[in-house]
């Protein structure tokens, strides 16, 4: 991860800007049906570790004087996945999630025909290349 940031520094012009955007694990992903939050997905430990390593890599290149932070924020990104079967498939096949928060899948059964959406927080930071 530090390698990728160092390479990005290399290909940016001086005072160029890097936009780093990643899922924000501190805000749990929400399953939306008929406009309301009905359940949540659970992130796996491996994904937690990867996110932590990414945060450390960004902190490292800032400490090394390669970049400085200009701006940061969070967007909520929502995508429609279809019915409950499609959401199950997504949750099971994702390298990031380990299914639903315990006991919450049952809450989705009344909405199994969909459409179900996944609303996720994406944190982003704009970094200036020094």
């Amino acid at each position: 991860m530090v390698d990728a940031l160092r390479q990005t520094h290399r290909v940016l012009r001086p005072h160029g800007q890097l936009i780093d955007a990643r899922p924000d694990a501190s805000r749990i992903p929400r399953v939306i049906a008929r406009g309301r939050v009905r359940a949540h997905l659970r992130q796996g430990e491996d994904a937690d570790k990867r996110d932590g390593a990414s945060d450390e890599a960004v902190a490292r290149v800032k400490a090394d004087g390669l970049f400085r932070s200009l701006e940061r924020g969070v967007i909520w990104h929502e995508n429609t996945l279809g019915d409950l079967r499609a959401l199950d498939k997504y949750a099971a096949g994702s390298s990031r999630y380990e299914g639903y928060v315990r006991g919450e899948r049952a809450k989705l059964l009344p909405f199994r025909k969909g459409p179900l959406s996944l609303r996720r927080a994406i944190k982003f930071e704009v970094l200036e290349r020094l």
Binding site: A4, L5, L12, G16, L18, I19, R22, I75, W76
Partner: protein
């Protein structure tokens, strides 16, 4: 969602700027959240880990030139297919790994690492 409801809502909080992006894959709104025209107009941009070029095509609406790089040939093939189909002239794609970024001597004004770190 009603026709009158805003699809792009912003809110400033102590934790930062929150933007509700209510439709997918209208990722142009994602680019707007990252600064839109203010940040990308007339700039050269590299999208590292571009995949099928979702963000690259959107940022190309503002940018002078966009290079999308990715280590997955199948994703790049789809990106090129869209590029040709839509006759885009300011977007190109290249095979490259983020850890080495072997792209020659080109330098850029902006870089995007979206879900790539």
């Amino acid at each position: 969602m009603s026709a009158t409801k805003a699809v792009f809502q912003e809110e400033d909080t102590p934790q930062g700027r929150f933007v509700i992006v209510t439709r997918h894959p209208r990722s142009g709104r994602e680019i707007e959240a990252f600064g839109g025209a203010r940040r990308f107009r007339g700039k050269s941009v590299i999208d590292i880990g571009t995949g099928v070029g979702r963000l690259a095509f959107d940022v190309a609406r503002y940018a002078r030139r966009v290079l999308g790089v990715d280590p997955h040939e199948d994703a790049l093939a789809l990106a090129w297919e869209r590029c040709h189909r839509e006759r885009r002239t300011n977007v190109e794609f290249r095979f490259a790994d983020a850890r080495t970024l072997e792209i020659g001597r080109a330098r850029f004004d902006r870089a995007i690492l979206s879900w790539s770190l």
